[in-house]
Symmetry: C2
Subunit: 204 residues, 2 copies
Amino acid sequence: MEYPSKLIENAVLELARLPGIGRKTALRLALHLLKAQTETTVSLAEALAKMRFDITYCRTCHSISDSEECGICANKLRDHGTVCVVSDVRDVIAIENTGQYQGVYHVLGGVISPIEGIGPADLNIDSLVSRAGADDSEIHEIILAISPTMEGDTTAFYLSRRLRDLPKVNLSTIARGIPMGGELEYADEITLGRSIVERQRQAR
Amino acid sequence: MEYPSKLIENAVLELARLPGIGRKTALRLALHLLKAQTETTVSLAEALAKMRFDITYCRTCHSISDSEECGICANKLRDHGTVCVVSDVRDVIAIENTGQYQGVYHVLGGVISPIEGIGPADLNIDSLVSRAGADDSEIHEIILAISPTMEGDTTAFYLSRRLRDLPKVNLSTIARGIPMGGELEYADEITLGRSIVERQRQAR
């Protein structure tokens, strides 16, 4: 595609490097910014740069934070004995939005993926093991909330091996099964099979 | 949605002001930038700000340009007697990509839309009339290439009224009809009807 201006071409190419944004969408975004007030572009550019430079990570759970300790780890009302292990900050936000979880988190920063060259040493796994194995640790349960992909399952398996020497800590995983509103006939066979094998006794 | 950091919340809110980008996509983009190298964010922010501040518009056709005269208007090899009137710079890029047009352009900067409060005076219409009506004008054809929406048709009608006092200038519109690869049975009635009424004699 030819662009009428080098400036717009640069902006389009930079925007198109973002995930899920192609050249056409990037052009639409660039032209939108050109039509909007100058402030719109300035505040967007400033917010992005400020986020990139000023953000810190919680020293305990490695979640994104504005200070050394994130709001969840600093909250005395949360259950610090239960740690939910997730691969990404997005998962923390998703679980927080359910309003169903009162424990704390541990963000791995990814999953083990030999293809992408990500090994256990590249993730926040050692800090989880030392956090759970510390003498003054009050952790009694670690929930593995990692997406059930090939890489996710590998990571979960590796974690369970690393954590099995901690007798005080119970390991659990989030429940798998038919999602709410899901139709049985459209569920894949593995999910449906597991939902039958791991059926839940109904309270009555 | 609650965000673990004010910095990321700001970036997400700014990104979500872009057209077609919701909060979830914005969060994905922000987290992508956090994971990528700092330079990615810096060059994106710089490209956007530079585009917004440094871009100019061609004094003749009002298209986006890096200088006072855009590359198309400055090109002596183009047919300066034929002017294609479009609402937006995106249309210029789209028509240029076809490689089928050798004339020049005139960018209106939008269409007449009473609902959005856009009247003829807000568009580059006066400059088109004076450009076509100038004593030294070599313009002999004006092609109205405006999307056939309610607002687009209103704009085209208004333009044809403003331009009818120029006897030397022929007015035309882009051909309407069944798009290439389109199935007749799925075409809407108006398009199909016009494609029959305005059928083209086949060369043989």
